[in-house]
Amino acid sequence: MQLARPRATALAPARAPALMTWRALAPTYALALAATVAVALFAVSWGTVHIAPLTTLSILIGHLPFVSTGEHSATTEAIIWQVRAPRVLLAGLVGATLAYSGAAYQGVFRNPLAEPYLIGVASGAAVGATLIIISPLFVAAWIISPLPPAAFAGALSAVALAYGLARTAGRVGTASLILSGVAVSSMCTSLVTYLMLTYNTRTLAILTWLLGGFNTASWQKVAISAPYMIAGGALILPFARLLNVMQLDEDEARQLGVNVERIKLGVLGLASLATAAAVSVSGLIGFVGLIVPHAVRMIWGPDYRRLLPLSACFGASFLILADVVARSIDPGYEVPIGVVTALIGAPFFLYLLRRQNRASEGRA
């Protein structure tokens, strides 16, 4: 990750120019956000059941406060408002969260292979979810399903454990954090595998959760997870400049007066919290958190002030579209979304990679 040094050294004292830069970035943010909203609207109007885009829009607008757009058939209304709208919104929020968390993880670990599941979020969530699925507590009749909270708790426990194990003398080395994360993850993974084989009448339910997806999305799931995902993104953004500095050597960043430990704890904590919320309502969707930040970096450069929000928008659009494909390949039937994210995402990513390689060869 090569970063212009002068900009980094200018960081610490001067505040005014930085503010101007934030403002200069506003049009980019607005454009990305608008594109994401457009993708979401398209996804809501697209589905197995053909519903005219105008009807879709009319139903959506009808749910705004103080607006009435007349009556629609109960089925159409239910499909748009109770099924598609929360499904698209949840896919967008989860995609955004995985992508900005991936960018944040890559920034903190300064490792291109870092992704939001690196230090135990996914496998911890899997343990929580599995325990609930096999337990007699798994009562789908409950008004609030205990599954997302359990997955959330599992995710945070695993990350906390990995963090605690890696911490020595008030410092957490990134290398030891990765190692303890991998160890905690494999412990959790084998536990889940064991439970799945032991309680094999529930294997399919566990597997379905692990593979992830949005078929059971609801406004309730949006409501319980969105606060974490939105707050996580909003609170990580102010760390963007410091993440830029951290792309230098950690020791150099320290010499520049950056409190590296606090950034690590803050950024990883926020990203893990948000990812835990995302995973708890969607299961384990791979690829988004790893690839989207890289794609954004290749197109728009490595500045975290741009990388974080654009990753969020790009991740949201990507997962919304992947979900559209997942429910359209074989109309009426679901295809696991993880399969789709890898199938569409990988070739696109390889295309970007080759284009970048060719460009750098051309320069050389």
Binding site: T75, Q82, W142, T203, A205, L211, T216, G286
Partner: protein, 330 residues
């Protein structure tokens, strides 16, 4: 990490359990069965006159199996087969059953159990079986048993048991294998009789007035397609199964949108043991637009009856028939 998960778990999935959403072959009926046999299972008296042994069995992998004499130490890795063996009075031949066997009670409390989901070849071989019944070739167990020259009665449920007739064929086959031919034929005849009664009671229902049915296997909307013995129940009842042919998958996952759009008149829950209830279905957002929910046509059926290829499938047929058409079955 996810890749680890996915690959490892997909292998498991493919390894196949009853509800495995893995591939299913396109063949509609069981070609290994003589047509007369599957077309008219209530009159199979011809079978009993056949010389008892050797019994030839066509395995799901195409390899032949010839059983020279009545087995005395059967290890059953199939809960469905275990149920059948008890129903035809051949339980004395059992040396071990699979740990998911829960019916009848005697099978549930059977002293020796093996794990069909992760079969341990050493544990099975140590039981010195003279026949192992396998319903799903998990972890290459069939090849391992073949290597040890242990006879394997391998009938893959997803591939070879796609109709209630196929279940009847299994009962007759296991009767011949265990030397309980007459008992098995009598069982098939009485089950066939009960099915006939249901068929007669619904025979005047025509396609245009057919009830649309959604059969729920779990809370993430897995269902049973027409190409399964569960789907066969709805064919007999002249219902329109909204899972259709499953897009080529035996047990497909439906989109919630497709269920709402299909607007089923009857919802059958085979997932009550996982906590899904009539009330929880009613409370699902948007589901109040479905006719079955509006009219209270939601029916819970014991999953161990409706999801297992054994004699109790007729209990499931009768229960669903009674629930769907109470005035026709009094």
């Amino acid at each position: 990490m996810t890749h680890n998960w996915t690959s490892r778990l997909v292998t498991l999935l493919a390894a196949g359990m009853l509800l495995s959403a893995a591939c299913s072959s396109g063949a509609k009926s069981n070609s290994k069965v003589p047509p007369a046999f599957s077309d008219n299972p209530t009159t199979i008296s011809g079978i009993s006159t056949v010389a008892p042994y050797p019994v030839a069995v066509a395995r799901s992998d195409g390899k032949p199996l010839s059983i020279a004499q009545a087995p005395a130490r059967i290890v059953s890795l199939s809960p469905g087969a275990t149920e059948i063996i008890y129903a035809i009075g051949a339980e004395a031949t059992l040396a071990a059953v699979d740990k998911n066997a829960d019916s009848p009670d005697a099978a549930k409390s059977f002293p020796t159990k093996v794990d069909a989901f992760e079969p341990n070849i050493e544990a099975i071989a140590a039981l010195k079986p003279d026949l192992v019944i396998v319903a799903s070739d998990t972890g290459g167990i069939v090849a391992k048993l073949d290597e040890l020259k242990i006879p394997v009665f391998y009938v893959d449920i997803d591939k070879s048991v796609k109709t209630i007739d196929d279940i009847f064929v299994q009962i007759s086959l296991l009767g011949r294998v265990t030397g309980k031919t007459e008992k098995a034929d009598a069982l098939v005849a009485s089950l066939g009789e009960r099915r006939k009664k249901v068929e007669l009671a619904v025979r005047d229902i025509v396609d245009s007035s057919a009830t649309k049915v959604y059969h729920e296997l779990d809370e993430t909307f897995y269902s049973a397609s027409a190409g399964t013995f569960v789907g066969d129940i709805y064919r007999i009842l002249h219902m329109k199964n909204i899972a259709g042919d499953g897009g080529g998958v035996a047990y497909p996952q439906l989109t919630q949108e497709a269920i709402l759009a299909a607007n089923p008149g009857l919802i059958v829950l085979a997932d009550e043991s996982f906590g899904v209830t009539v009330d929880s279905v009613k409370a699902r957002p948007g589901w109040s637009a479905i006719d079955a929910v509006k009219n209270g046509q939601i029916l819970g059926v014991d999953p161990s009856i409706v999801s297992r290829p054994g004699p109790r499938i007729i209990d499931a047929l009768e229960a669903i028939a009674k629930g769907a058409y109470p005035d026709r079955f009094k």
